[in-house]
Symmetry: C2
Subunit: 399 residues, 2 copies
């Protein structure tokens, strides 16, 4: 069945391949972007590894390669009139929402960047909720959240909800969150707003708490060099494994924060596409908020660096690991046992991280070795200023 | 000991009497306001019962009456440069933060009002956190939140934190929230941001989850008619008991939503002043977020209406209760057992709601009977549009 799918943030690392994948599968796809992230890249002086065409050029290339059309709407999600007009006009069956400021370090640069991140993300998402409510109430919202919303509590992380027994009674809560950055907080606020929209307005939504994504390309982006997606390796927009692979390729030590014991969930960019497709194919009912933990395996940062080091050595390279002062305020040793069974039960077939996959990434990155700017590896965004006093990672509960 | 106390939202119903009380107690007080609420009143065409002088006039009257000076800073908390300059210049020991859009119905009028509420409240509060971090890290933030952040879960509501046993392990979370309006969500977002600032930056904060406040005057506002505070009885800015008292005074039926079984915590405006003073006198340590449930007793809406009806009849008035369609989406019958012991243990001596107190309120309101605009009692702000489908009050947890 062909659906109308609106992809918010369609110019991004994940939004663009998602739009192509839905288009190739025969759906009618429209993308929304305001190119804010390209502005933020200019602000920091960082660039994706592979040169990225404008979105308009990529859409023309996609038409040529696939003989399919993707619509484009250029505008800002914080402008309600724009959001309402797009949702009213397109009448989506599903709204896949990637359209947010995506970087934790970016949100921690200054008060300005913090306010920008929360205003942009929270108000944009709120506008999407109102526009769906008033103009397309049958539409299913598929929202990209993050595993980082949960933080690292001392108990198992369930998928979205936690049933609590207390003083002989029981209640099921949206799983309580303890996020670690202003960016992660913005996603927590989004989740609370979406939960409200489902409870009070009967909206239907799926909140995907995604792990750290790695990978250079997808089936669709590999079809033509003009279809490449914006792979970042800098410390602000690049994720851990992607950055390590680029560092290994140019002979730069892998920069591990502290002891590298921080454990997180990871997934291949191709599995992101697969998970979002499964979420769209299995919509929530009215009044229901589905929450999935979207990752396929978990590693400590040190384990990840070790894998990249081994793969590089296999190619005859010298790969060193450098333990640098952690600019973040986070626990380096912690309990971490998040469940991630719901997407598997919907049919997810994970592409796990293998030596071969890292080899492929290193080869692909190697083709673009000359473009790597090693100064981008360190951006010096600190979570707390040197003046911050007694900074810890756990607030002492009140007396 | 004389402290420097900065009151944000110093023109408001609670901010103004708080500023006077701290000033009279010998502290150095500065107030901040941008008069946004007066604009919102103009937008809706509603006015406080008692004519309210400009803040500048009230400060002059206060100087005359008390021989004490309160400083004023006019500006917007969403303007970081302003917030930073005020906090840097005044170097507060305590920042008492009332400076937010305070109405749930206002936040539900439209997408615009929802975005305004969350952007105003969340970004303003975030700016305060950054300015304290960078310019006055010793300052203790006393933030006004609301009991409405919790919603009405099926288990006891603890004061701020909930310890959960799960699969043989244990973790203490910030108490999970299930708020009932866009406004209440904004306060939940604030609480999460404040928790982060304490955990990551070592800030010191107290989050007061306040119940529904009632009352016309405080010890200080009673000193001179020019010092009156902005008592609202309209459906958007007026709280339940205040509105009922005004309705009884002018012979309008008391408008109870649905069956009136909704139970909430209540407190006297004089107890608000007392609680905030106790919070300031007992600051959190660095890295600590104290959370108090700030109310003195709980009633259902129907009980409250019954008390006002009885007091009115005692004065020989005819007071009817009218059950109107609930414009909100909320449970009318629910479990409600919130704890509220911490402020008592700090020394709070509650002024409980008595027949005599309602009599006093009715008498005071009676003096201003001619100013009551009965059209303000009903503002027709609905929580969900007629088109909203399957709206419930509990999202079905995911499959």
């Amino acid at each position: 069945m062909s659906l109308r799918i609106l992809v918010l943030g369609g110019d991004g690392y994940l939004g663009w391949p998602t739009a192509m994948a839905f288009s190739r599968a025969g759906h009618r796809v429209a993308v929304v972007d305001n190119f804010a992230k390209r502005q933020w890249e200019l602000e920091l002086g960082v660039q994706p590894l592979i040169p990225i065409r404008t979105l308009h050029e990529r859409l023309r290339a996609w038409r040529e390669v696939s003989e399919r059309e993707i619509e484009i709407h250029v505008g800002d999600l914080t402008d309600y009139a724009f959001v309402e007009a797009v949702i009213d006009g397109f009448q989506p069956d599903a709204v896949v929402h990637y359209g947010e400021q995506p970087s934790a370090p970016f949100s921690m640069i200054s008060a300005h960047h913090a306010a920008l991140t929360q205003a942009n993300n929270v108000i944009g998402n709120l506008n999407v909720l109102f526009a769906i409510r008033d103009k397309a109430p049958e539409a299913h919202l598929v929202k990209l959240g993050t595993m980082g919303e949960y933080g690292t509590p001392d108990i198992d992380i369930e998928e979205g909800y936690l049933t609590v027994q207390h003083n002989g009674r029981e209640h099921t809560f949206l799983y309580p969150k303890t996020p670690g950055s202003i960016y992660h907080l913005s996603k927590v606020h989004d989740s609370a707003n979406i939960h409200f929209a489902c409870r009070i307005w009967g909206l239907r939504a799926t909140d995907l708490h995604q792990g750290v994504v790695y990978g250079v390309e997808t089936d669709e982006s590999a079809l033509d060099p003009r279809l490449a997606t914006s792979f970042h390796y800098d410390e602000v927009f690049g994720t851990a494994l992607n950055r390590f692979c680029v560092q290994a390729t140019v002979g730069h030590p892998l920069t591990v924060y502290g002891k590298g014991g921080q454990t997180r969930g990871y997934l291949n960019i191709r599995d992101t596409i697969q998970c979002v497709a499964l979420a769209v194919a299995n919509p929530a009912r009215h009044g229901e908020l589905l929450v999935y933990n979207q990752f396929t395996e978990q590693f400590s940062v040190q384990e990840l660096a070790g894998k990249v080091q081994a793969a590089g050595r296999h190619l005859g390279w010298t790969v060193n690991i450098e333990h640098v002062t952690n600019p973040r305020v986070e626990l380096e040793q912690h309990y971490y046992n998040p469940r991630h069974e719901k997407l598997l039960s919907l049919g997810l077939r994970p592409r796990l991280l293998s030596d071969e996959l890292i080899d492929t990434m290193l080869a692909k990155i190697g083709e673009n070795r000359d473009r790597v700017d090693p100064t981008a590896f360190v951006q010096n965004v600190r979570w707390a200023p040197a003046t911050a006093r007694d900074a810890g990672v756990e607030a002492r509960p009140g007396r």
